[in-house]
Symmetry: C2
Subunit: 386 residues, 2 copies
Amino acid sequence: MPELARKVADSNGQQEGKGVTLSPPPSVTLSSSTCPIPQSRYDHILLGHGSGGRLTAELIQRVFVPGFGGDVLAALEDQATISLPSPLGGEGPGVRGFRLSFTTDSFVVRPLFFPGGDIGKLAVHGTVNDLAVGGAIPKYLSAAFILEEGLAIEGLKRIVGSMRSACDEAGVALVTGDTKVVDRGKGDQVFITTTGIGIVPDGRSLSIHNARPGDRILVSGTIGDHGIAIMSVREGIEFETVLESDTASLAGLTEAMLQACPNIRCMRDPTRGGVSSALNELAAASQVGVRLSESAFPIRPEVHAACEMLGLDPLYVANEGKLIAVVPPADAERVLDVMRRDSLGRNAAIIGEVVAKHPGLVLLRSLVGGERIVTLLAGEQLPRIC
Amino acid sequence: MPELARKVADSNGQQEGKGVTLSPPPSVTLSSSTCPIPQSRYDHILLGHGSGGRLTAELIQRVFVPGFGGDVLAALEDQATISLPSPLGGEGPGVRGFRLSFTTDSFVVRPLFFPGGDIGKLAVHGTVNDLAVGGAIPKYLSAAFILEEGLAIEGLKRIVGSMRSACDEAGVALVTGDTKVVDRGKGDQVFITTTGIGIVPDGRSLSIHNARPGDRILVSGTIGDHGIAIMSVREGIEFETVLESDTASLAGLTEAMLQACPNIRCMRDPTRGGVSSALNELAAASQVGVRLSESAFPIRPEVHAACEMLGLDPLYVANEGKLIAVVPPADAERVLDVMRRDSLGRNAAIIGEVVAKHPGLVLLRSLVGGERIVTLLAGEQLPRIC
């Protein structure tokens, strides 16, 4: 999920306690030494700047948006939409231009290989999904590799092989690339940056600015699988069954959903920063409130157990093959049906709704009945998750 | 210069001694311990795999092309050309599609700041130039940052500022991006991957497969400036005047050249691997020979002196604001005039020609009158030059 193009509004939109009485935000951060950090108290990059949470938003706000400016960048969607003029020129009837979707992501996940996938698969799916959730049909990909001296060629072959399979499955063509090598100790085996181009069909304009009170919030399946799969490898946690990353291309699912319901307001893939980040962005950008029901969330028992054990909140844990959709109320059940007919949406559920109250805030009604604010992740929960 | 999309043919096209009697290839490599290496003798990544020379070509041939396949990737230009269908559909008269150029490059240069530029400027120019030398008009850029924990925010701001200036000068818009953070010791301050989209005007199709015997080879200015500027900072070499990197956007120059002479065969920016790599690629792809005259090469006295001192061959040293153009003989003088009227082409010169003899080989007539083969760089001369 491109961080440069996201979430700037969050650090502003966060209006804790505005008009509602709420319990304090949950403590979900492992690297407690680095958070919470007032905006002006650091002058070096912290791990939390890559979290997809508040520090990432601050970095974008402090460095990238003022540095780069630009209307498209400032719109902060997960992908830029580029309008190309008609090749015929002019504005007459029957003369139409093109709309392309353009997105980029670097992948630095460790370990390189994990249950359910590897960095190569993730690098393809991540960029394909950023195009797909924007309503585009993914078409072309580039891949740039930064290799560390000493990387085993066999490992690289395996990664390339799984990128190829992922491209084939997603229906995209990898058409250009680059390779750089850095000296031993100046990288970490392999980093991959993929960039994607998709075509946006006429009439589609999904945006996180579009949510309206009454809209339903849908999730396509169980949350937290990717983050916990990675964490379990790193920490040596064993489950009775192997917990696999959910990494997958969502392009087929999004297309089915959009054909069934062209007026879906917006979709997001809740990767780094989890469901919490995706919905906080939405609440801030659309200036609406979001109410979630904890009991409605699909979650695997082993993910739930691992989160309890590790002190993680599944709302902050990364997903790599799930999407959140904001759908007008009249269409919600129909879209849910369509999702459930897709193998990637079998466990889809309506998890909440958009409200007019407390704009910019995401509230969760917990299993025990209380309500709490779901804030942006303050520090870094699981570094290098994607 | 995208390495994944280049130079595969070189390791095949290299036909040393085929039909000509020649002096042995020059010894130009500093890291002699890693080269020359027979193709099957390593199973880990070496620094030389990032050189832009023979090892890079082997890596692409062994890993990327078989892994990814694909006609566009296999064409091995520095940029992929994508044909989009007409938005109107159909094939009737007046119905035209779009041709886009798409290219990506990672930048890992060190130091981050050097005379004449920094990694940010380089990251914009490098990708803009790959589009420009393919005949495209650069339009949109993405930027993905991999930051090392501990990087000074001020340094990052400076880099972003210089990217912005470089974009403005080149007339491109940076529209999307991403930021990842890796833990201290797992990166090297900042790596930047830029990806560019350009529009290819109707009727243009430059390709390294197009060179024909008789064509003239032009260079837009002094060679080796970037590599020696970087090297001088790293090695603490001082010149009487500060030698600056030539990093610059070539988009204005290429457009002027193509408008004056639409049938330029191809252009290349001789970055990593230098003029030698660019011309070896051309010779292999077009199955022609190339004859160069050493006395015709524009070179700064201080670059010449530094190369002598360091044992470097300027033909292998990177440039970041220079291009090589292959031009039909009848147009060569006119194109040269156009180049010289541009501030980036003031020192342009005709440095050689394409010949039918010794296909796949680049020969250089030296200042003292001998002739030698200019081979692909065998190992790594200046690691992390871009």
